[in-house]
Amino acid sequence: MVSFIVRRMLLAIPTLIFISFISFVIIQLPPGDYVTAYAAQLRNAGDYITKAQEEMMRQQLGLNDPMLVQYWRWISNIVFRGDFGFSLEWNKPVGELIWNRLGLTLAISSLSLVFTWIIAIPVGVYSATRQYSVFDYVFTIFGFLGKGIPDFLLALVLMWIGFAYLQMDVGGLISPQYENAPWTIDKVLNILSHLWVPVVVLATGGAAGLIRVMRANMLDELGKPYVETAYAQGLSERQVVWNYPVRVALNPFISTVGWSLPALFSGDVITAVVLNLPTTGPLLLQALKMQDMYLAGSFILILSVFTVIGTLISDILLAWFDPRIRFA
């Protein structure tokens, strides 16, 4: 077990290095740089700067150095000093910009994950044990729909419904009047009334997929001889199903937690843009469009790191849950 964890962790290190490099390269890919984008923005606003000024800016920001040098400067600051660099556009340290939003992203993602599981596991078990029943068909259709509807579209529609029929302003995370108000029950309720949309959007997509996975796993397991053995002991259907096949069917499920994290982050990015949430999504989009390299790079890096860690955790969880892996 220990050797298993150690091996997984050691494997994660090159992955992380590679990811950080890729993140950096990706943001370097666009022709031009922040200064070009900045100049273009100024031109649009009717202002302009000279070529010499542009060049000086580049010099200042170190944009003329070879890519590897820039990469090293960036990553070594992160690793050794926890400094993610400076957002060129916001004129603030990246760290300051990121952490709040990242916390919110994580909160929404984990909340959605919990909802996904709460929905997907019982429904999957039900669908499998009552295969071809009316509700099985209903859930199957839900599953397909959930997979077919793009997150952003669902967010749009929910927002529209909330706006047009429920007289709710569901965009953003908080109504303007509460923004600077002290923490009260009302403020919390207000946040919750905004929060349900992204959570529903993210959980629907996730749950739809996981219900299918859980149902398929359960159907596999229900046909296995050990289930018959359990029935032959005189256990009731509920005891058999929840103690045996569910327990085994959850294993591949656990291993997908890690995989579902990237999906949730991805979903969050796009949903947040639509819903105008103060999470990482809109900031990342803006940073990418502006070629705000340190900001965008740090975002992609951090999201990827979370994902790698998520995968690692689910690997370890899986090994912990499944004795066949633990003792292998």
Binding site: K147, L156, M159, I270
Partner: protein
Amino acid sequence: MTDQAIETPQPVSSSAKEDLYTAKPWTLIWRRFKKHVLAVISMWFLILLALTGLFADMVAPYGPFEIERLRTLAPPTSVHLFHEGEFVGPFVYGLARERDPDTARVIYETDKETVLPLQFFVSGDEYTFLGLFRTDFHLFGVDDRREQINLLGTDDLGRDVFSRLVHGARVTLSAGLVGVIFAFVLGLALGSISGYFGGWIDSSIQRLMEFIRSIPTIPLWMGLAAALPIAWDPILVYVLITIILALIGWTHLARVVRGQFFAIRHEDYVMAGKLAGASEFRIITKHMLPSMTSYIIAALTLAVPEMILGETALSFLGLGLRPPVVSWGVLLQDAQNLRSISLAPWLLTPGLAVIMTVLAFNFLGDGLRDAADPYGQ
């Protein structure tokens, strides 16, 4: 060898059974597939959609960029059959444009007086048919040049949403298909190398796939897509976007291919082929590939919707295809804020088209997957 009469004495029982016994694998797959009603319906829907996309210029009554300044955000016109209780065949009413005296906002009123019979195979705007010749032939339309038929309404520039949707189908569907083809080539190459050679080659390719899967898709797509300069040729952007989609999508296909390779490589019949003296090439082409194709086609079908969703999402965010290219994702950009949706909900119809197409591909893929193993039971 007298007691070798293993045959049952009666002759070949019925021709139906013999037919089953000698049916080609693909015939059996088709027979099984046909039993999935939903999958068959989806298949026809997609065929129809593909034809519509292919002949978009003809199916659409108007060009995708044709602006009608006096018909901005017009609601969908519905097709009627009876005018004042009298059957007159399919027709639409005219549309009267007024201004709300209080808010000065444009409102449209159905003009119950003007009956515009729906004409089929009419001449309209000129276009180049499949890049071959100029023609002005359209599937349907109305005769009156001053009036329009907008089955799905118009957008804020007065462009016909239905026409744009039909043109968008061409781009979105082909982006999905081309993306899948790129992904498939990558997946097939790496998956079969991985599955066939095993060992360290396999594990390093596995690592690479794990790595790619561990990157959050949309941020990566966004990062890559943001690298495409705005000024580039739309066609080039289109190709690059499909490649970006494929770069991430291939891992899934590679897993399927590799899994199949592993499963089949350890079948006894592959060993039997080897012992019969078959070359590697023959084993792969005669034994392994034929038994994998049906699974792979199913997997490909299931991968198309992923690509379509990817394209739509990127374009919606403004990172993928950009106007003047017309794709469903680009069309959905118009529906980005609540104001326009509540004013003109028909702008969401491209979203409906995405959902239906994605569902159809999923049903089709599911049906194919279930039918892929005709010897399962």
